[in-house]
């Protein structure tokens, strides 16, 4: 490790992560609007353009959006090296990802090939750019901590996801038929959801679950073996799935997928257990979101297992769709929202703190609002409840498609609107307190 380059003061400007965090909930609202516009038929098949659009609004516009911002913010803390030219890099990545996601999803909805072609270029560039920055840091760091290992594996999974996505998009964009469309799509989904996002969440959990609630650390065995095992199982599954005829090997494929399910369930159970041993017993929105996420993860495994036992269930056209819904809306989205409620107030507080250290003399320091004043617990909890109710309704409607879908869409729209409100309100508070700090420093040094 080159210590002359190691500085731990690498907080990038607030705008670097915030542009991503503030864009994400808007994509959530778009997804809810799409749900509303499509009505009960949306869940009739997982191959409908509406479903593909909905998936990408959430995976690119919400999930990847937040992950991009979080990485640009926290990579320095994790590996001790700052992202170069943070403003330029974040502006470019954010524009490419935002316009690319909009272009891809509107291309799907309107079956406009030119939009999809444009999206492939934009999204390709944004992910390649993002992966180069992250990849460089992950190679450079000498650390073999469990979180870093998980992130390296997640990086590989992302690379596979992106390549498969580009192949699929090219097929769609140029209108030729891919003979293995279904297989490629399932691989793209598997590597994206289980590999990239799933492994990343586990790696992040190793760090933040013990930190936020003061719990014991994850068991050393789990930290050492779980993510490599998931990666290898996914790789084996992909090999069998791609190379062999499905019918002869369906039990192996199901078995391997259920093994992945067991591995993720182990993670969920250990996390719930650690959280029950937490020293901080106070109510906490982030904690509740994580618990919802872990239960959502367990439910998706139970549904997976049920599909293995009762083929009547897994043969229905919407079974895989139900699995996807549980995994995305029941596991990934709650965890990410929970994280936002910790990251956003802390970063705002940190920037005020740094600002006042830079412009005010120590004796004149003013009292800045604390984290619970930046996003009040009450508002975070309203949002959590609305999301939770939306999720329950969504699960019901995914199992028994009905007109309830309209209620679900409205409810989700409200959940994402509240999230938007909570995040934008915090930004507004940031600006107004920041102005006060500047005004105060002018009073202190009227000449400057």
């Amino acid at each position: 490790m080159n210590i002359t380059q190691l500085t731990l003061e690498q907080t990038p400007p607030l705008s670097v992560p915030f542009r991503f965090f503030l864009t994400a909930p808007l994509f959530g609202i778009l997804a809810a609007l799409l749900l509303l516009g499509s009505g009960p038929t949306i869940f009739s098949s997982r191959w409908s353009l509406e479903v593909i659009t909905l998936t990408h609004l959430l995976t690119l516009g919400f999930i990847s959006m937040v992950i991009f911002g979080a990485f640009l913010q926290f990579l320095p803390v994790l590996v001790g090296s700052p992202v170069p030219y943070p403003r330029l890099v974040s502006t470019l990545l954010h524009l490419l990802l935002t316009i690319g996601s909009l272009s891809l999803t509107s291309g799907f909805m309107m079956t406009q090939v030119v939009l999809i072609e444009m999206a492939l270029v934009l999204l390709g560039l944004s992910f390649i750019g993002f992966m180069s920055i992250i990849g460089y840091s992950l190679i450079r760091t000498k650390s073999n901590a469990a979180t870093v290992t998980a992130m390296r594996l997640a990086w590989l999974a992302l690379a596979i996801t992106v390549v498969l996505g580009l192949i699929l998009g090219t097929g769609f964009g140029y209108g030729y038929n891919l003979s293995s469309l279904a297989k490629l799509t399932n691989l793209h989904l598997g590597w994206g959801l289980l590999g990239w996002v799933g492994l990343l969440i586990i790696g992040v959990a190793y760090q933040v679950v013990p930190m936020f609630q003061i719990t014991p650390p994850y068991p050393a065995m789990v930290k050492r073996w779980l993510t490599p095992l998931i990666f290898l199982t996914l790789l084996t599954w992909s090999g069998f799935y791609w190379l062999f005829n499905l019918n002869n090997f369906s039990w192996i494929l199901f078995g391997l997928m259920d093994l992945i399910g067991i591995e993720f369930s182990l993670f969920a159970l250990v996390t719930l257990q650690l959280q029950s041993w937490r020293l901080r017993k106070l109510p906490d929105v982030t904690l509740d979101y994580w618990r919802i996420g872990m239960i959502g993860l367990l439910l998706s495994f139970i549904l997976g297992l049920a599909g293995l036992i009762w083929s009547d269930l897994s043969d229905t056209p919407i079974y895989q769709l139900q699995l996807g819904i549980l995994f995305i809306a029941g596991f990934i989205l709650p965890v990410i929202q929970g994280m936002l409620y910790k990251i956003v107030p802390f970063l705002i507080w940190l920037h005020w703190q740094n600002q006042q250290l830079n412009i005010l003399t120590p004796v004149r320091l003013v009292k800045i609002p604390h984290m619970k004043q930046i996003i009040p617990d009450r508002w975070a909890r309203y949002q959590l409840w609305v999301y939770f109710i939306s999720l329950i309704l969504l699960i019901i409607v995914a199992l028994y498609p009905s007109k309830l879908i309209y209620g679900v869409s409205m409810s989700f729209m409200l959940a994402f609107a509240l999230l938007t409100y909570n995040l934008y309100r915090s930004l507004w508070l940031y600006w107004s307190v920041s102005q006060q700090l500047i005004a105060k420093s002018m009073m202190e040094n009227p000449i400057s």
């Binding site: 003061e9 994790l78 020293l279 802390f346 984290m371 619970k372």
Partner: protein, 149 residues
Amino acid sequence: METITTLLSQQHHDCDKLFAQAEESVATTQWECASVDFDRFRAAMEQHFIREEQILFPQVENHMGHTEGPTAVMRMEHQQMRQIFTEMAACIAHLDQEQYLGLAETLLILMQQHNAKEEQILYPMSDNLLNHQLPSLLEQLHQLGNNKA
């Protein structure tokens, strides 16, 4: 084998426990306990800071030949935490639960990201850098604790 990483990381965990205890007492409005618990937490943190600022950081800075860089940032974050301690102590004096809990949340995240940087970057680097003088350094770190206790 004991290293800088194991010794000082353990202290972080000990302080975490004291933090949670104080927060619990405030949350249940047991103000007398809260005052005792908070003082214990603050004293443990202060002792840990002093060990770093007076023993570990100067050695690291000696080796690097300057005082800018990681240790400067760590010192600054210690100051930030000390400022919050002062505000938290005032909350206990004024029995202001809401403000205390908000500050506690803020302190926790500040403290945890600070600890993570130390445990994952600074301490392993120090173990590496100060390898040859590790036994005497560890003894000093222990001794300072004993004198203060």
